[in-house]
Amino acid sequence: MSLSFLLLAVAALCALSFYFGRQRAVALSGGRYSNLHSLPAHYGTYVALWCGLPALLLLFVWHTFQGSVIEAMIIADLPAEITSDSGQLSLALNSISLIAAGNGQHLTVSPEVVDAGRRLANLQSIANAALIVVMLCGAVIGVSLSYRKISPELRARNNVERISRWVMIACSAIAILSTVGIVFSLLFEALHFFSKINPLEFLFGLEWSPQTAIRADQVASEGAFGAIPLFVGTLLITVIAMCVAVPVGLFSAIYMGEYASPKFRAVAKPALEILAGVPTVVYGFFAALTVAPFLRNNGAILGLDVSSESALAAGLVMGVMIIPFVSSLSDDVMSQVPKSLRDGSYGLGATKSETIRHVIFPAALPGIVGAVLLAVSRAIGETMIVVMAAGLAANMTVNPLQAVTTVTVQIVTLLVGDQEFDSAKTLSAFALGLVLFLVTLGLNVFALKVVQKYREKYD
């Protein structure tokens, strides 16, 4: 029986137990639901939860431990000459699992391993059958215990609510734990990297050239892992993007929210938001094929030396991409400023623009700062446009007319290479990821602080 079938069976059992639990409650009520502490559906849910949750919990625990327990049993039976060497052991375990899955015909292995493969297949089928039995037992025990407890006095509603609270806690725990998990997976690989490269050199080094020799006899540079050029490049592109996105987004939000007629707004606002739906690769095309050549040609006329892949092109296009973030979010916060404040200002004889500048904008400032910082983290994380328009060269420059690269772009190029996974080059991607994560985290914390500080002033 496959897992999905098993889950379906449990769901069916739950439905059945809901029905019977409800029936029993109805029977006990003697026709008047007010004799019961809770509604009949609560009793049904109560029984159904006691059916489903133990079964799912058992399934979860079983799956967590099944693999390691069976592996331990197999290893215990293998001869010592295999188990003593870790390399040979993992090779043998690999073959064993292949044989158990029925794909081991072409392998040339010792008879012990073939035996172990058969044993593994055997154990797995036993374990699966046992799992079904255990789960069904859990469900049946849960149902029978809770079914017997049904009485008019049973506080089924409160019990159900308590259980659903725990379900919600479990869900939020999953969200938090996955964040923690991501941080730790980054952290361990980054630590691995820092054992090869000095963290100070990484954080403050001014040269980025992660090419290391793949083979010992290869002629290659030592490799330099100074992350500063990458962060300077990221900062440069982000600043250019924000220079485009903040004024354009803000002014279009003010126009849409305060001046535009409802008819115009109904057409223009969705049109502006279409920008947010364009895939970033398409923006990349636009940057590389239209904007960059345009800048280069016009730069040549002005006597400027614009490289064909420039930070300016990438930043400008990225700014366009972010406009809808800024405009949409700031439009929302400005329209939330209470009408009474506008009336107060108009009542004193202020014009529309005075009202916007002196009353609405300051009142909406926390939300606008939030919107801008959200846009900044979007810009920092953006990869595709930079790959296509700004290039890969890790130049240490603040000249927007030259090619630069960003942290995320380097992470991608580091990981798509064909080097060993534990080389400094590959591992540096994780260190970059960790630092980037810390930077955006710091930015978010800062944004929260700003918003809180100003929110107190507002209503």
């Binding site: 009336d343 107060g344 004193l348 202020a350 209503d459």
Partner: protein, 267 residues
């Protein structure tokens, strides 16, 4: 013409040399008519109270008097409203200057999320009424003084206005209106969000302000109308039913509807 003479029978709109007048004022929200042929005179340096049941058009009428209805979409107005004899709906009138002459205080205290000082200084700043910081200081101080708030806030002029109590906030809004030296102050149920003590203070203030300003106040409380006003106008279903001296309206109303309302039989 028929409508005018009819309402003239029940109400006495005309007084000698009024500060503001409304003549045959009709107002429509899209297709709904909210005001019908309103004729009313506002006497200078007196408090005129507008009373009537909810939805009778008294707030709408008040907002016609400084063209606050301009900010609402789909409103059409015909008829005439004058200030010192000039039609305020004339194309040549600048709304900004008009509102500087006719200030407004709203139902809910609505201080700006700025400091107490900046709230009062807002009007003088945007209208360029002052040339120096000292002049501005003086206007802020006198306005707060006139609103009876100076004693309570003079040590914390730079703290946020939203930290004041409801009654203090409302008096701050009055100070803010006074700071632009208006001639008329319109008040839309200024005490409806306040407790009785704060209400008493605001009423006292209105009585004091009467010596310098012409005041029109919308109120749901008939006691308040009786306490603070010299003239009272009763609105019902968008029509001005009766207007006269406050004493006369409350002791000897001419119209049955007015009598019914002030004795609490409907409304």
């Amino acid at each position: 013409m028929a409508a005018v003479s009819q309402s003239a029978m029940t109400a006495e709109p005309s007084v000698a040399s009024p500060k503001m007048t409304a003549r045959d004022l009709n107002l429509f929200y899209s297709d709904n008519q909210a005001l019908f042929d309103v004729n009313l005179d506002i006497v200078e340096r007196q408090v005129t109270a507008l009373i009537g049941p909810s939805g009778c058009g008294k707030s709408t009428f008040l907002r016609c008097m400084n063209r606050m209805n301009d900010t609402i979409d789909g409103v059409t107005i015909n008829g005439k409203v004058t200030l010192d004899g000039r039609d305020i709906y004339d194309k040549r009138i600048d709304v900004v200057q008009l509102r500087a002459r006719i200030g407004m205080v709203f139902q809910k205290p609505n201080p700006f999320p700025k400091s107490i000082y900046d709230n009062v200084a807002y009007g003088p700043r945007i209208h360029g009424l002052v040339n120096s910081r000292d002049e501005l200081d003086e206007i802020v101080m006198t306005s707060l003084e006139r609103a009876g708030l100076l004693k309570e806030v003079k040590d914390r002029l730079q703290s946020p206005a939203t930290g004041l109590s409801g009654g203090q906030q409302q008096r701050l809004c009055i100070a803010r209106a006074v700071a632009v030296s208006p001639e008329v102050i319109l008040m839309d149920e200024p005490c409806s969000a306040l407790d009785p003590i704060a209400t008493a203070k605001v009423e006292e203030l209105i009585d004091e302000l009467r010596s310098n300003y012409t005041i029109v106040i919308v109120t749901h409380s008939m006691q308040q109308a009786a306490r603070v006003s010299q003239r009272t106008a009763f609105f019902h279903l968008g029509k001005l039913v009766e207007v006269g001296e406050t004493d006369q309206i409350f002791t000897n109303p001419k119209d049955d509807r007015t009598k019914g309302y002030i004795t609490g039989r409907f409304g």
